[in-house]
Symmetry: C2
Subunit: 274 residues, 2 copies
Amino acid sequence: MSDEKDFLSAYRQDDYPRPSVTADIVVFMVRAEDSGNYRRDSRTKLSLLLIRRGGHPFKDCWALPGGFLNPDETIEQCALREVQEETAVKPASLLSVGLFSEPNRDPRGWIISNAFVSIISEEKVRQQSGDDASDAEWFDVDFTQEDDGGYMLTLTYRDVTLRAVLTEESSSFGRTSFLIKDSGGLAFDHARIIATALTVLRSGAKEFEYIFDFLPETFTLTQLQNVQETIMNISVLPANFRRKIAPLVEQTDLFTQGAGHRPAKLYRRKKETK
Amino acid sequence: MSDEKDFLSAYRQDDYPRPSVTADIVVFMVRAEDSGNYRRDSRTKLSLLLIRRGGHPFKDCWALPGGFLNPDETIEQCALREVQEETAVKPASLLSVGLFSEPNRDPRGWIISNAFVSIISEEKVRQQSGDDASDAEWFDVDFTQEDDGGYMLTLTYRDVTLRAVLTEESSSFGRTSFLIKDSGGLAFDHARIIATALTVLRSGAKEFEYIFDFLPETFTLTQLQNVQETIMNISVLPANFRRKIAPLVEQTDLFTQGAGHRPAKLYRRKKETK
DNA sequence: CAAATAGTGTCTCTAAGACAATATCAC
DNA sequence: GTGATATTGTCTTAGAGACACTATTTG
């Protein structure tokens, strides 16, 4: 059909207005925090990566890592590229949260953003730390529902505390969407993106999706349980957790050592059997 | 900060290449098909809306309804607008499937599309039918996994049959993504979008999400069960279905009439109790 | 031994699936 | 009554949650 060729060569994209498109990524990590005590296990905290903006707009505010989509890549490749530029680590998983397209979400103009959740293990981050003197920092995450039904998102890094207030806008199948009442100093609509990303992460962690991605190749069941409890802000009995997770993991011959108490068997994730 | 104002007024979006952005919508409906027999209930089929393309590219192929995002609307508003333009019906629900951004998915150039699932009740469609002589038609859907692990998507409207072949690319938390092996005559990457949309719909229907949206305000439990069975391509025992759905519905005083058998009580969806 | 975590056994209760039985209409 | 669908009852089994108990290391 040269008919079609004619059409395509005559086609001009400029006839329609076009937005800039970005990917913003909520990079999660579960960190172990030394709890002082001489042989007690360390507590774990959920944290996410924020970057201090050096330029306008929202200069000096904290924002999610992200960047513009290039014509030769998919939005997933773009997100992956941006994470790696920022952390030098390839994330274990990347899942879409949704497209944020409020017309006025960015003061620079018409810029829409597809948000992603990305998961990195602390192990990999440690291997890389030190080689960038950038303004990227890991903030501890606390996200809880208030008595009045609103939500409070608190992000903490050393003496910096960002506290955003949100309300639930709609909820559908593991994804809740939020409205910002107070951005707490976060740039753009990033408080909203983070809140939505957290609901996605939590609803996945419930059925053990993603929780393996926070840990190294081999891990103890207690570590795995800690990850789930940390993400979901719950606590379950070890016996029950072990029973539920059993079909998804397999033993190795290795044990932990020198922890001041009984060694734990190391497990690895079992390949899906279908 | 006039500093920031200066920056913003100097900012030029044209410095970065920008894609056109569209919303494509997979509009689902569950249709009752008269099965001839004098007092046997009609069978139900899942169907979706396709539009015959009048212009290039993919002239005369069938495609999903959709259109370009305007600067003054969100992508959800855009999707809603496009559905209404095509069907004159306001869909009961609209949920995002994801952003499809393969660089060469559209021969016209760099055009990325956020896909949505939208659900319409047959009742509302019937109220509207006739007033558009457009090229929009409802195709019956059959989507099954083959023995070789591949997937077959068959869309049927009268004597038109579109048969696409796909393979599973990745799967994560209720969303499976596909690769097209044979588009079956569907335009663009729409076979892929439809397949992904079906996995989203099915994973939601499992826990009774969305199934109410296919029916009128009041309905019988058998109708509701038919919707779920039709979508998921399964069958469950009525007693068990009723027990599971009971907390989500409430009775009305009404009954069906003149069906040639025992009347069924009409129910309505119960408001969420939290 | 004490402190701490690792790991197992089992009781109870609830929910899911299977199946049987009864109810009520149009004709 | 017959044929069809509507609706309820209950048996069995699988899984979730709670709890008590045993095991193994370091200091």
